[in-house]
């Protein structure tokens, strides 16, 4: 009998890390108490959420721990960049926590999610149309909707709707032709329609995430292998055509291959990111000693570079390993799940987390061409945090259902 992993020790570790981190940052800021207030707020939130999770036996105990570990680094970094931003991130985490418990209880208690495929598909499409009509352009991507002073990024939410939609098909719930079109083709049509919308918004990162989720899901579930190959072939053809005719894609691939020939212009972002990482070395320049403010978009897409500059490559490697542990845990829950709809949703969410992390970290370290998306749990932003928490809530619900009922099909 293998001893069950103890969740208490890592929880204490997390508290210790937060205490040390926020105290040091406070010391570096001439003992400004603001940092400590943010730190205390953050720790309080963690203790509250984690106690509820453990006491109410809401499934897996490690996912939330890893997520909070990542958020500790994120909030620390944001406080260091701008204390106001760090404080606001705490507000977003409060919102995220509410979303977390809501999505958990909805997913846990409602049993007919697998029948709503049409709703997901249309809901996603409606959000896209709304973005196109009311959207505003930020950093070259037209993917924001504003309500007064509040902004919201629908494409983050669409990813979850899309995964729920795919899960309906691949759990076998959506198996009858719709308007005489076979479900396999319906999924294909919806996927490519979404991608078309995303191209119109110039949101290349999300395109990659959506398409790769699609390909992996086909690989796992689709019995007809020609459908998989046809899609890969289509992707290759579209990719080559895109490279030949779309200026945006040419530029991105160009600066990936050689950012140094045009550092002051096209290669500016990636060069600044690499400068930061290179200046940090193995152990970093120390929190507060670096110049992460030279990096554009440092609080969202490029936060990983700032972490590398001040906490070093080893700090960056630790973040990558944390994400890997998180992804591994998600996959493990997916593998143990018996309910086929929950399993498909779990797989989709696992893929979403891992691919999104890979694409943005790989982008800022110039492993792959850079496409801007947020780093889950670490980047600043309400939508990103809320959607990450919503997915986490669903993942918790899946694991809790499995623990309680053995996940029998109803």
């Amino acid at each position: 009998m293998i001893k069950k992993a103890n969740y208490k020790l890592p929880a204490y570790l997390l508290v210790l890390m937060s205490v040390i981190g926020f105290t040091l940052l406070c010391a570096a800021n001439n003992w400004q108490a603001n940092v400590l207030y943010v730190g205390i707020g953050f720790l309080g939130l963690f203790v509250l959420i984690y106690s509820i999770l453990v006491l109410c036996r809401m499934g897996d105990k490690f996912l939330v721990l890893i997520a909070f570990m990542l958020m500790t680094v994120g909030v620390l970094m944001l406080c260091r960049l701008d204390i106001v931003m760090g404080a606001r991130q705490i507000v977003w985490i409060v919102v995220g926590a509410i979303v977390f418990f809501l999505s958990y209880s909805f997913f846990y208690n409602i049993r007919f999610w697998n029948r709503l495929w049409l709703l997901y598909a249309l809901g996603g499409a409606a959000l896209f149309v709304l973005t196109l009509v009311f959207g505003k352009t930020v950093n070259g991507s037209r993917n924001w909707i504003s309500f007064g002073s509040l902004s919201f990024q629908p494409s983050e939410l669409i990813k979850i709707l899309y995964i729920m939609f795919l899960a309906c098909k691949y759990s076998g719930s959506f198996n009858k032709p719709f308007l005489k079109v076979h479900p396999t083709f319906v999924t294909g049509i919806v996927t490519y329609l979404y991608i078309l919308f995303l191209v119109l918004q110039r949101d290349w990162g999300t395109i990659l995430v959506v398409f790769l989720i699609f390909i992996f899901m086909i690989y796992v579930y689709e019995e007809k292998s020609w459908f998989l190959w046809a899609n890969i072939l289509a992707a290759v053809v579209v990719g080559i055509l895109g490279y030949l005719f779309l200026y945006h894609i040419q530029v991105r691939v160009g600066v990936w291959l050689d950012p140094w020939s045009d550092v002051s212009n096209k290669g500016y972002q990636i060069a600044q990111s690499l400068f930061a990482i290179a200046s940090g070395g193995y152990f970093g320049r120390g929190i507060g000693n670096g110049s992460p403010d030279y990096i554009p978009e440092v609080h969202t897409d490029f936060i990983f570079s700032a972490v590398c500059e001040e906490m070093g490559v080893f700090g960056g490697a630790a973040i990558i390993i944390l994400y890997f542990l998180f992804a591994y845990r998600c996959f493990k829950i997916t593998l143990n799940t018996q309910n086929s709809y929950n399993k498909a949703v779990g797989l989709g969410l696992s893929l979403m987390f891992s691919l999104q992390t890979f694409i943005i970290i790989g982008g800022v370290i110039k492993f792959i061409p850079l496409t801007g998306i947020t780093l889950p749990f670490v980047s600043y932003g309400g939508t990103s945090i809320a959607v990450s928490f919503a997915s986490l809530g669903i993942m918790q619900a899946i694991s809790a259902l499995e623990e309680r009922k053995g996940g029998k099909e109803e």
Binding site: I277, A278, A317, F331, L351, S354, I365
Partner: protein, 460 residues
Amino acid sequence: MTNKKIIRVLIVISALFLGLLTHLLYFNMFEAESVATNPYNRRQWDDERYVTRGSIYDSNGVVLAETTTDDDGNTAREYPEGRIYSHVIGYYSKVYGKSLLERKYDAELSGKGDIGLFQGDKKRGFDLNLTINNAVQKYAYSQMRGRRGALVALDPSTGAVLAMVSLPDFDPEAKSLEKTWGNIVEDENSPLIPRAIQGLYPPGSTYKTVTLAASFENGMQEKVFDDVGEFKTGDVTVENYNGKKYGEISIERAFAVSSNQVFCNVGFDLGSEKVLSIARRFGIDDEVESDLDIAKSRIEYKKMTDTDGALVSIGQGQLLCTPIEMAMICSSFANGGKLMRPFLVDSVTKGNAVVQRTSPKVLGQAISEECANYVGLQMVQAVENGTGGNARINGVTVAGKTGTAENEKEKDHSWFIGYAPFEDPKIAVAVILENDGASGGATAAPIAGNVMRKYLSLVD
């Protein structure tokens, strides 16, 4: 079945994450250094706000480089002696980065590792004190002016650089450099290359000093040669300078008149292995670790034959040397056969405190003391009764050797290496004038002679 495929997907995802980790570590190990020092990385100039860059002085405390701050707090790096030191100190530009000493001693100049207290509101970096004597440097520069080439003067007993001129040069001051960069880079004479330490030239007859040392080691000094004016083997023919024929001749006389035929014969008889071995003892084919960015002097043969050995023995063939390497070789004849490591920075100081001092270092014993004295004596003969007559100094015994090196361009390079005084050597000089066309004795020897005289007049 589904689980099996999910595990495969997990393996792919694991590979992606492993790729991220590997790339990040790879980047930090192999690319980070050059990325961090990219001139566009503004972090490099961050220190400037808190630290005034240290100054650079000559051996007598004359300011060669200093950073000034104007009333608005803007800093500028100034070089009071202008272009005379462009190939010694290098440049310091926010656009084009740093070179030579400004780069090599960047950490010291910006006060890294200084745990001293702040004095006033701004910290000050460490200062560098060079071994160069500004008066000699200026004089050497005036002697070389208008030519293309290099001059290196060393203290033969320590390896300290006394003067170092490379031409053509450029104005190192950042503002002017940034304005003229385009022209400087495109100039076909490459003014950015510090020729004294990085120019690779065939050393020509100056290299006969090394061959003479090898012949002494192999007991050839009693041998009498028949000089018919040309050396012939296979399809290789080497003629004496100006086609002269000397008839029956000793090796010593052949050295003084610089007979190519005799020295080709010596090299051929020694064989390629011995020719290569003595070259290596003098530091050729070896990286020289020093505070100067010295290019590696080299003999480039895949497989060296005895004929190649004959060509190398007169400083031709695939033998390429930097001027500073020739000055090092010349020094070792002056100091009893030791190859000294050359150095430029005598000490790093902060106020009166010495932070770091360079001590002379022997790289190796190239030849025996006896052999060094023998070659030195013959070098005296070459100046007194041979090709090096123009290097003579009144009242001082000068040892030297001229050279005229053929190269891929039409006009020959003129060379001279020498040291003085013979009895108690204080300075060793190597001079090269690129594509000068004249013989080393005519143009290079007088420059070397004048520089040595100037230095000796200052130290006595």
